[in-house]
Symmetry: D2
Subunit: 340 residues, 4 copies
């Protein structure tokens, strides 16, 4: 349940208000130079303060690597890591011991486990995504050595959108600020693009590459939807509008002249850029009185405290990038076992 | 790769133009009455002729159950089944031996395996979904015994849509017919609703219930996107518009007064109906001359023959229902191993 | 449960007295010539009549390949196969409906499932091993293409033993005949040797190569023990007696001058022959009156009918060979995903 | 590779001479009181000094629990733990950088990964078994709550043996001391017994309970063989000597009057004690000059330094107990998903 992947595997642990979170990265190819500072750098992108609108929790999020690397080179053995929780203000959450926050996992955790750590989302907190970013940062370095690049950017906030990472972000950020001023939160969309994946990587049937990417993205807290290529727009279009005609580039490599397919056909990469869009819901925590019930089922009200981003999609981009990287590396390694 | 699920597992085999397709259903609870005619009935819904616009291939699709059932009751042992391919006109596909059909998996299979059965999509053909429907039909009967019901219907074709299974389908079907008349194909959306899942079913982190549902749906041929609850619309909305306030029904059961969450919070069912939308692309096969390349990379043209639906979403509903049923039953069984 | 392997995977179905048994072989490397007659040949070795002392059930055991192969070459897609049950005399087993045979799985199946097919062992019958032999025969051909050879022979019956396949088998067979004459059965040991596995194949920790081989062998009906290299004898010896000193052969390849380790160190092949011994219990079915209980717990007697080998180890060699082949091929493919 | 189990899962990391070893225990049932001091206690049993003949490495082996427990009760979330390496004298191992120790995994790790941490066995060191003991200690507490008890004891050293934990251990220990005095090491056998497993726990075919136990035991460093029930002795016996006749005890529970089967029939527990024997080879490290080769393949000699037990079976009992506990709990939880 707490493990992601088949060959390249991330297993994580940790409650948001316990002593630490952390994980184990298994299946890392041996003999690869690993730059720990680049891991920390990816982690910093997801950190409060990296963006003016992300939550004010001031954890340094310093990752400690405990195994799997010697003299800056991977050993092929699992990489264990820990990120201490240094700024866990549990007191802010005491009210949640007996009340369920709307649109959070408090009630469902109680239903599943019969017991829960009520402090700040605990295991269901977005804090666990820091471990994903560590795993993703290791995967990114492996992929880079194979000429594969992963990028992710916020392409929509509320009803504002942009097409490319290079388009102006200010109007989108203004949407976040406006929601924040109004004591509200707002949803967003992250676009992810993977370049350099060779044709033939992926799998058919139940292990389709985009099914794996979809599951990866939908496992991120707050994600409500996933599409690749033309996605939902394809369902509103004609076949003649979706045609990706094959051709060859000057080097003789097979390409398609358009990329409605989003780089994947039949679950297997066709060598074109892999394109995806991931929908994040608005932050469920609202800094206002909300009607809810207590653990006895009685009506009550709850006023969220703690520190919260008004738009989880802002931090989401770093997590999307990490999940894409791990999924791609896993498929890349797995594909090596297809042929003798 | 060809196995779906963890406890309730479907493994399938079969090329569209080989002697048979089939599969093995493992993890079926023992002692359950199994009505084979209901399995055949689900299979018939997906059959050509079930819908005026589905393809004309006239296979009876008769499923033969080879094990796992005695005197109409499941044994808990795997159910092996075979569906003979009785109407496989391979001759129609000889041209595809040396040419790649656009928007199909011909090129990517060749890239992955270095060899392929060029006849009619082979393993990448939608024909393999018949096996999913058999697995789903077994799961549906198990779920029904637990009060869980799964429904799926075509809610959009091209730019036409409807909200409920009971709304008029004629305008949508007219879209299909129009595309067909114009030698084109058209995309569609299937909506799936699951009622009766108890709060607490599902899992956190990487095994979230909606991540499993998403992967299941994205593994269906032709699916380009998945969303649950308010999905992509949530990403364009404010937090105050997404609030699902907790309450209790007259029996004291916890409910939410709205269902933007789509029945799942933190990856775990909250007891409300689970709602999903699945985007299908237009049928990639178009009965007209198309530019493409041959296996040597030379430009050529290809004219599809064979029998093809102008809208794969029409048959897709039966497959969506099957995949939802298998995913839910798998999670239901898995959830039983959470507590001692 | 009914699936073996991680990359090269066999999933099986079938009761001994249902219409058929069969399976799906997934992860078969594509583009490999596959000789179906060699599969049938391995199956024949396990057949009644192949050995004068094996049971008299006269099934032809004809395997039908339904997918995954075209023009004699593997496609990389799953190979589905069926072996019809043509000689299932269920009547001989009617008494077992209400009585538990000693040393069989009748009671434990009833305890686990609450329902069982009482006819001839059903799913717990040795008949299911025919499917393993089919899977193994495919694996053997893949391994042969890589210069890997697997052999298995009966090295002990009762208290008689032999060291090599080339030693006289007559004294061992005499043990079987003697047991048979006396209305008894007898146990045996199968020795398995794998040559040609390159150093580096295998895995550490929980996926050690010999742990996988051990699990494979212990999953065969009637197996009570597994050892590799010097096995239990090593536990009675000194460290100085177990030393495998490294050296190089004329070609410069690393070898050990002895092979107490059985070709595996730390779970990973060292390039020397892999050697194992597998202990089979005597056939539990005895053609005499036996005290037992009925399904109500009342004391009763039972006299086995049906057809039974007096020594299951005789047929066991073909199954051991198959399981070794599948385990090795799985590890070989998996090992390809270790390095980028 | 570094994960054990399906529902109750242990994933571990750590080299013997890195900063720490540790792991993640997933699938722990929620709401269970967990006594951390009992975990430390199991860990201490495996520690140097617990036995006069175990190696002199003086690590406190203090386990730090980082998650999954609140107020002494399990949350159902993963338990992350770390055991710092406090006494890692790497200098003693510098010679091994360029030489392969006989009967160790140095050469095979190099062959598999192309790179290795040469210090003290690293990942292949018996030190990793401390993590197994932690996982086992958690499992033992879960099992105890269900009335299941696991015991393991050294039943053989060299050619000396004993039948029960209560028999005199002095003659066996004398064997160890004698080997030690002679600059040698010696092998041993551990016997493991599990009481209280209900009939019906386990699985058929490839997931047989004893196949899982065998794989678990064979994954322990130094184990060369596994048998259950009468094991290899059964292969030398007659069917009439192996009969376990069914009966009922005064409470009406089904029992067998003997237990040659070792508590398992057809892979499923029959309610009788589960009995196993595990063969450990002699410690491969000998404190004398040994012929070997260097990483270039040249002949050389190597004299082991560092601290080493003359008999790994002594510490092995604690690890056997841990692996048995985890395997049983995993099967117990998994069995709950058999029936709806």
């Amino acid at each position: 349940m707490n493990t992601f992947g088949r060959i390249f595997r991330l297993t994580t642990f940790g409650e948001s208000h316990g002593p630490a979170i952390g994980g184990i990265i298994d299946g890392v190819p041996p003999g690869m130079p690993l730059d720990i500072s680049l891991i920390q750098q990816e982690l910093d992108k997801r950190r409060p303060g990296a963006n003016p609108m992300t939550s004010a929790r001031r954890e340094a999020d310093r990752v400690q690597i405990l195994s799997g690397v010697m003299d800056g080179v991977t050993l092929g053995t699992p990489i264990g890591f820990v990120i201490p929780n240094t700024d866990a203000r549990s007191a802010a959450y005491s009210e949640m011991r007996s009340k369920f926050r709307p649109n959070h996992a408090d009630f469902t955790y109680e239903a599943k486990y019969g017991v829960r750590d009520y402090r700040g989302g605990s295991r269901a907190s977005a804090r666990e995504t820091a471990c994903r970013v560590v795993g993703g940062a290791v995967a990114l370095q492996c992929l880079a050595s194979q000429g594969i690049e992963v990028s992710a950017f916020v392409s929509g906030i509320g009803e504002r959108s942009r097409c490319s990472e290079h388009d102006d972000f200010a109007p989108l950020l203004e949407e976040v600020e406006r929601a924040h001023r109004e004591g509200d939160s707002v949803g967003g969309v992250v676009t992810c693009i993977v370049n350099g994946v060779a044709a033939g990587i992926g799998a058919p049937l139940f292990a389709k590459l985009h099914a794996g990417l979809g599951a990866a993205m939908l496992s991120i807290p707050g994600v409500k939807g996933f599409e690749y290529g033309d996605g939902f727009a394809a369902s509103a279009s004609r076949g003649t509008e979706q045609l990706d005609i094959f051709s060859t580039d000057p080097s003789g490599r097979v390409i398609t002249t358009t990329n409605h397919s989003g780089g994947i056909q039949g679950g297997i990469a066709n060598g074109m850029p892999i394109t995806m869009r991931i929908a994040f819901k608005p932050t469920p925590t609202l800094l206002r009185d909300l009607a809810t019930i207590d653990t006895q089922g009685n009506a009550t009200t709850l006023r969220a405290r703690g520190r919260h981003d008004p738009c989880i999609a802002l931090r989401g981009a770093a997590v999307v990038k990490a999940m894409a990287a791990m999924t791609l590396l896993d498929h890349l390694l797995l594909s090596q076992s297809t042929r003798l």
